[in-house]
Every structure is written in C-alpha cells, then in structure tokens.
C-alpha cells in the first residue's frame, strides 16, 4: 500500500502543528502512513516540547512583527520556520517501526539524507537529532510517540535562512547581536542554497525529499490532501491545545540549569556555556580563539547536544571530535576539562558563578 503525500504552503503555526498530531493519531489506526511536506506562513518560532517560550524567544519582537510562537509536540530546541524552511512530518503506526530512539531517528532521517545526496550534498546523521554537513547543522529532527501508538517524525530542513532575523527572534547566548556574531552563527549553519551556490526552489527540494523518502522506505507516494473529518479534528485540536496560551507558554517543573566556564591562556580565551536538564547537556555554546573553523565548533556543539554530562562521557566525545577535527590548537583534555567545569557550575557542584582559569598541560596540533 502506498503512502499519502500532502503538500501545503503558508500554514499557520497552530494549524500546522495540530495537523501533524491528528495525522499521527490516525496513523495508529491506519495501515497507510502520511508524509506531509509543508512550509509555514512567515514566520513562526516553534519551541521544543519542554522549553520555556520566554526563555527561548524574544516574545516582544515576535509580537511587534506578527511572528507566531507555538510549542511542538517533539523535543529539542527552538526553530524559526517560514517559506525557506521545509517542514517534514511523517505520521505512521508505531508498532513494527522499532523501539530505540536513536535507531528510529537514523531510519527516518535516511529519506532526508538520500534527498540531499541526490542534490550533491553530503549530509550525515549526527548524535541524536541533527543532520549535518561538514559539521554544520542543516536539519533538526525529532520523534514523538502518541498515546494511540502513532509515531510522528518531524524535521525542519534549512533550504535557506535569514540569520539576522533568526537572531532577532530566537534568544542566543550572545548578549549583543553584532555583525561578527551573525557571521559566527552563519558559519556554523548550512543551508541547501548556500551549499549548492544556487537559487534552487523550495519546490524542487521538496520533490527530492519526497523521492528520497519513497526510495528509503520502498513505497509509492500518492498525492492526497487533508480530508474533511481530519480538518474538523485539526480545528478541535487548535481550540483545545495549539491555540491556547496555557499550551504555548506552559512551564516545566524541571528547573533549567546553565553553567559557564572560561579558560584563559597565552594562546587566547575559551568560553563555554552549557544548558542542562538533570544530568544531560541539552545545549552547548563554545566561543574561543583556539579554533580554525566555525564548522569544527559547530560539530563539537552538535556532538555534545543531548549528551550525558558525566565527565568520562564528555571526555570521550571531545577526543573523538578532536580526531575528526585536528585544526585547533587546544588539547582535547583541556577542552573537556572546561566543559566539565561548566557542567559542574550548572549542577551547582561548585561555589563559583563561573570561571576556570587554568593553563593546559599541552596543546594539540
């Protein structure tokens, strides 16, 4: 049996998210998955399931510029969506799709990887939730399992990105948005158009993505649309959840923790900030004078996103990163030590607000 393919553009944030959830609920009772490839009305800031909107988004800017804010059912970080970011939602029955999150994510991302390879872009699945090209993120991924047993795979593919707008909408660790900071953010991000050096249309990319999923899952995609009863369910879900402020602005009981540590040597300054959820590093931000390429820094940040905060685990990942990215002048152990210090500050294991001033025993490269 083929899969239904739904293509939409200019959807509102609440309706767009509600549609994905309705399709997922129905997928649990249906043999036929639905692949929905769509864009949002410009623009929408979508936070992860357990994020705090006020903490992640410049709400005042969004209000002044008619930018919608909403909460995804999937986890991860805040994203900016609009006509140049392709939303991908695959709704399918959960049973038989496998159990392990990492394996599910790799399986689902395969269709996207194929599409990008078809365009000449060497994208790879990294960690738990990213597709990256040369260390730089090009797509964010997420999976949600519904109570009904349905499974929703969400992805946002950067066909293009207005970095300046993103910096005004989404909060970053940088307190000031300078040209240099914007260049840093841009250098750590990939987009399809930037990589191809071509004004490829979003429709062309969408066609390749559909083909990639069809080939990956060995299914025929049959163009379809949302049926009347599905639209009614979507309207209900908008009224009950995605259109409600108590959903969008809800707060989690898990306290957000952050830590910061710096390393100052004769070779320069390293500044590490971590955000923690319990023992897990959910985000890492690195700035420093020791790195030749922003892509290498982005790769480090990506590898340590949603990563255990335990010292040994961090050190092992930093060593693996250093082997893959030799173009830096800081010993992996010294780098891992600063990250560990930032984690300790975030956990409240030290009395210091932040700060780590040590001299590394050796340098690398």
């Amino acid at each position: 049996m083929g899969w239904r393919l739904i293509i939409e553009d200019g959807v509102g944030a609440a309706a767009g998210l509600a549609a994905d959830e309705v399709l997922t609920r129905r997928a649990a009772q249906s043999a036929a998955p639905t692949l929905r490839l769509y864009t949002y009305r410009p623009h929408a800031a979508l936070i992860g399931r357990f994020q705090d909107a006020a903490h992640e988004v410049h709400l005042d800017y969004c209000e002044r510029h008619d930018i919608e804010v909403n909460r995804r059912p999937t986890g991860g970080g805040a994203i900016l969506m609009g006509p140049d970011q392709l939303g991908i939602a695959l709704a399918m029955p959960g049973r038989g799709a496998g159990l392990r999150a990492r394996e599910l994510m790799a399986r689902f991302s395969e269709g996207l990887v194929r599409a990008l390879h078809d365009l000449g872009i060497d994208a790879r699945f990294r960690g738990k939730n990213d597709l990256e090209v040369g260390g730089r993120k090009i797509a964010g991924l997420g999976i949600h399992r519904e109570a009904s047993g349905g499974l929703l795979f969400h992805a946002s593919l950067l066909v293009d990105l207005d970095v300046a707008l993103m910096a005004r909408v989404l909060k970053t660790p940088f307190t000031e948005i300078t040209e240099a900071e914007l260049e840093t953010v841009a250098a750590r991000t990939s987009t399809v158009r930037a990589l191809l050096r071509d004004e490829i249309s979003l429709d062309e990319v969408r066609t390749r993505v559909a083909t990639g999923f069809g080939a990956s899952f060995e299914v025929e995609l049959e163009p379809g649309r949302l049926e009347a009863d599905e639209r009614a369910d979507i309207a209900t879900l908008v009224a009950d959840r995605y259109g409600r402020e108590d959903w969008i602005f809800q707060r989690t009981d898990v306290p957000d923790r952050s830590g910061r540590a710096t390393l100052r040597t004769t070779g320069g300054l390293l500044d590490v900030q971590v955000a923690l959820a319990g023992p897990t590093i959910v985000a890492l931000h690195v700035r420093g004078d020791f790195f030749e390429s922003e892509a290498a820094v982005a790769d480090l940040e990506g590898r340590l996103r949603w990563h255990p905060g335990a010292r040994d685990a961090v050190a092992a990942t930093v060593r693996a990163w250093a082997q893959a990215n030799p173009e830096h002048s800081l010993a992996p152990d010294a780098l891992a030590s600063v990250i560990d210090r930032a984690v300790a500050v975030g956990r409240g294991d030290t009395g210091e607000p932040y700060g780590c001033f040590v001299t590394p025993e050796s340098t690398h490269g």
């Binding site: 986890g75 009981d253 898990v254 306290p255 023992p279």
Partner: protein, 148 residues
C-alpha cells in the same frame, strides 16, 4: 538505565504490553502506582523532562496521563488503567533522572484510584505470563535493532 543491563521485571507488577509501563496495586489502599518498565527505559534513554497531569484528572485507559522527553524523543504517557490521578511523584517532576536510576522504586510517576481494576488488569501482563512476554519482547527488540 543502561541498555546492556538485564531487563528487570519485578513479579509483583502488572505490565502494559504496548507502552511498557508497570502498574502496582496497593492491597490496603486500592491505589495503583504507575511507572515505566525497564524495556521502555531502554528504548527511551535518559529522561530529561517529565510532565504529569494534575491530581483529580480522570484518565481512561490508553489516554494521556502526561508526557516526557528523553534523548530527543518525546512520548505521551498512556494510562494503563482507567481512574483518577490521586498523587504525582514531585521528586520525579523535579529530577526525571530518578526514573532511570530507580524505575520500580523512587522513580514511580503517579498513583491512580482505579475505576475498573479487575477489567483493566486483565489486559495487562502479570504473574506467570511475565517471563514469556519478556522473552518475546527482548527478542523483538533485538530483531528490530538488527533490521533498523
């Protein structure tokens, strides 16, 4: 919980086949305590966030009693029995890693005053059925791991 540890399934619990939750009824109070079983945790990894519905909420079997985020996957927690939530584990709400550390003890999620325990518990795996179910689930997990 590490995925290479043997799957623990205490014999005094009832297990939800599909959602990998456990249920344990206190004989004296009649309340049913709910948590995530070791196979479910193996598939989810470390929990980062947990949200649970308020006490007083009525949850039919199979409907949401909360949600969680673990290692980027989010999932709705589906009630294994019909009833009313009468207690939430505040310690887990503040530190979800308790669930990974002690899934059958300090990592419980909610307590439910069951509305139809006899009917709902018959749908769950218990007693002598646990071992063969566990063996089949482990085999399925390994098979899916190989094919994924």
């Amino acid at each position: 919980m590490s995925s290479d540890r043997p799957f623990e399934t205490p014999p005094d619990r009832h297990y939800d086949r599909e959602h990998h939750l456990w249920a344990h009824r206190d004989v004296e109070s009649g309340r049913v305590r709910i948590g995530i079983d070791s196979i479910g945790l193996s598939s989810l990894g470390d929990l980062a966030y947990v949200s649970l519905h308020a006490t007083g909420t009525t949850t039919p079997r199979g409907s949401a009693l909360g949600s969680l985020e673990a290692a980027k996957m989010t999932t709705t927690i589906a009630a294994p029995v019909t009833g009313t939530i009468v207690a939430r584990n505040d310690a887990v709400l503040k530190d979800p890693s308790l669930v990974n550390a002690d899934p059958y003890g300090a990592g419980w999620l909610v307590e439910i005053e069951p509305a139809r325990w006899e009917q709902d518990s018959a749908e769950l795996v218990s007693g002598g059925a646990i071992e063969p179910w566990l063996a089949a689930e482990v085999e399925r997990l390994q098979t899916e791991g190989r094919t994924d």
